[in-house]
Amino acid sequence: MTLLSCRNLTKSYAGVTVLHDAGFELRAGEVHALVGENGAGKSTLCRILCGITPPDAGEMQLGGRRHAPRSRHQAESAGVRMVMQELNLLPTLSVAENIYLGALPRRLGVINYAKLNADAERAVRAIGLRDVHAAQPVSSLGIGQAQLVEIAAALVTRCGVLVLDEPTAALTTREIDLLFAHLRRLKSEGVGIIYVSHRMEEIRAMADRITILRDGRHIATRAVNDITHDETVRLMVGRDLSAAAAELRPESTAGARRGAARVAMRVENLHRLPAVRDVSFTLREGEILGFAGLMGSGRTETMRAIFAADRADSGKIYLGGSPEPVRIRHPRDAVRRGIAFLTEDRKAQGLLLPSSIQDNTTLARMGSVSRLRFWINRRAERATARGYIDKLSTRCKSPDQSVVELSGGNQQKVVLAKWLFRDSRVLIFDEPTRGIDVGAKFEIYRLLRELASGGKAIIVVSSDLLELTAIADRIAVMSAGRLVETFDRGQWTQEKIMEAALSGYTSAAATSMAAAGRVESV
């Protein structure tokens, strides 16, 4: 039974058509995956369905009736709910208040906190969040936890159509399993689920049908069982994925070369309690060192401490094989010494969103595009930005274009351009492909490889094990704030990595950790 259908949807922004006569059908009780590359129109399509953006042309039907929501609220009243890719929570309110915002239980006009918190606690448990309390402010949550709270909020009210845009981007495997169990239950209740994701293995596990969009057009809709993984990707990008993946693998000779390569950075006994405990590792030129671990295992915190985005409690950092440790007390010191940090949250920490590509590219090294570090040489600036646009194949209209208009993958390239222009030698990538689609992901991987073979030392923090095993030369695994194991290429399996990632959370380890914590706090 068709639940929601749309036809001939067209939408353009600033003269660029992002959706071109697109249409598709959603049946009751199905999970319908929506896939496509950067700018294929998935997010725009979802935004139209949910009343956030009106279409320029085209029509939609919901349960046999015309569906033309003029606001998100109207769409929700009609039973269409959406979990957005970007978090939409209010950080200062509690988890419970966020979940029930708009439908807060009241008694005599006053919020009934007892009921609110009890209900929210149930919703949070149901989605599988163990260490989150209903009364806790959202600002105290990690990004993965916040994402689950957002999903929980969408699930507490009944709906006919649920739109999930990249719901698993920040989730761990266990959290994903819990989410999927939920989705199956909703499915059995007849809810139609639109599932936007770049993760093919999830789509194959979860979806019934798959619709492929490319350049704003509808390319194909198939039952998941009728289409192979490779064919899907070919339709999305017009290329062969497995061959591309093989291309990425470092050659065997690279390993031998690495053994002799110079040390780029050595970190010794880095502490930043409670998240980072006694982390030591060595990074060589020309290698990609992956950092695996569960959400909250201290990977991001370690990188922030190295970069002095947060001040470390103690620890030494040596650069370029020098026997003297360097003093890094401000990100300025780290940047001067050739360390770059590409943060997990590009929009909030990496980019000047309303500013141009050009201004973002030169920000970290204005001295080179100005006379006497004062007078900006716009021509040099523009040439620089253009050079990196070509080099990284950034898709944009011109160097003057505002980065807010770019897709996630292209925004990431702008951040990368900034650091390449700064001539950084150690590049730390925190979740480099979060919210970036398959085709662009491979481009980022290819760039990482190119940079490594050009002699850069690269750290990649990622929650995507497939990603790490595809591109890393070595993988360091963190668990409960400690670096528990480092695997060389060839030695690892997904199971071994997972085991190491969990090792810090066993009861024995937890006890010894608590004891250590007491000693440290004395």
Binding site: E37, P331, L353, P354, S355, M366, S393, R395, S398
Partner: protein
């Protein structure tokens, strides 16, 4: 074949069309709306009000503007970094007081020493504002609100709340004139031109906009944001002090209540010019037009004999209307 695979999956960016330099065209289109509003106001008053559209009247309007324009230059910077400076009126009062005290005391000092001391006082107030804001991450609203009181208190303490009549020795600056316009008008104009160029063409200007847009991204790009923010408050203090010198020179007296409430006029003018209170966006040249719009409105209404309370109602409406217009202008540009 492998070449095909490793080739970028997105098509290479299309050849970029040659673009005109931004300054010439962009600046004017950005300001077109304000110029239109100003022209309409002048035309409206010219046709309905006798003695408005005369050389004398415009000379008077221009000669009253320099202090406000100078303060507006500094205020534009402060708003661009996402702050606000409520102390400009009081700092103007204090700097004027310094000039008065030095030139009329037991050992009267020459004008140039008094001017330097006044600028020093303004810079010091700005420095305090800036250092407190960056050291304790206190909102500038609160810090400068404190400075508003402190500087005014210091002025009254310094001058014993008395107006100092300096006489023609103070008039050296304002008495110089060219084409009916006094030197302060040219100084203020120069400040606007320099201020606009520093904003749009220098590294410091770029840092200001960047800090106002996303301070954390700037910090994580390895740039110290504290010196930038502190410098902006110092500039705002210096601008207020320069404004004080212009005013004292024009009136040849220093009144301890000078500049009371000026901060709100200045903020209004800058906001009318389209500078965002949220930071990251603004233009010094537009602020000048904002000051001119308020000045013309005020003078025109006075010439029509409109009562003061009505003037305030109208001025307030214009400020709010300007912000609403700016909203539509931005939406139009985004299309």
């Amino acid at each position: 074949m492998s070449n095909d695979i490793t080739a970028p999956s997105v098509e290479i960016a299309p050849p970029l069309p040659p673009r005109r330099r931004r300054l010439s065209l962009g600046l004017i289109t950005d300001q077109l709306g304000l110029i239109a509003v100003l022209a309409l106001l002048i035309a409206g008053f010219a046709f309905t009000t006798p003695h408005f559209f005369t050389r004398d009247n415009f000379t008077t309007i221009f000669n009253q503007m320099p202090a406000t324009v100078l303060c507006a230059v500094g205020m534009t910077y402060v708003l661009i970094i996402g702050g606000v400076d409520l102390s400009v009126g009081s700092v103007l009062g204090l700097s004027g007081g310094v000039v008065g005290v030095l030139m009329t005391g037991a050992h009267p000092q020459p004008l140039w020493i008094a001017v330097l001391a006044a600028l020093g006082a303004g810079a010091l107030c700005g420095l305090l504002n800036g250092l407190i804001v960056v050291t304790w991450s206190v909102p500038s609203f609160v810090v400068t609100l404190g400075m508003l009181e402190i500087a005014r208190g210091a002025t009254h303490w310094l001058t014993a709340s008395r107006t100092a009549y300096i006489g023609s020795r103070a008039g050296t600056i304002a008495d110089l004139s060219l084409g009916g316009l006094s030197l302060p008008v040219y100084i203020a104009l120069a400040a606007v031109i320099i201020g606009q160029f520093v904003l749009s063409r220098t590294v410091f200007g770029r840092y200001m906009i960047a800090v106002g847009t996303n301070e954390e991204a700037v910090r994580l790009s390895g740039i110290s944001t504290r010196p930038v923010k502190t410098a902006v408050f110092v500039i705002a203090g210096l601008c207020a002090a320069a404004g004080a010198v212009m005013d004292v020179s024009r009136s040849q007296a220093s009144n301890p209540n000078a500049g009371t409430g000026l901060e709100l006029d200045v903020i209004a003018a800058v906001v009318i010019g389209g500078t965002s209170l949220m930071g990251g966006r603004g233009s010094v040249a537009s602020s000048l037009l904002g000051v001119a719009i308020i000045a013309v409105l005020s003078s025109g209404l006075a010439a029509r004999g409109v009562r003061d309370e009505t003037k305030r109602l109208i001025t307030g409406t214009v400020i709010v209307a300007a912000v609403i217009l700016d909203y539509y202008r931005l939406r139009f540009i985004k299309r």
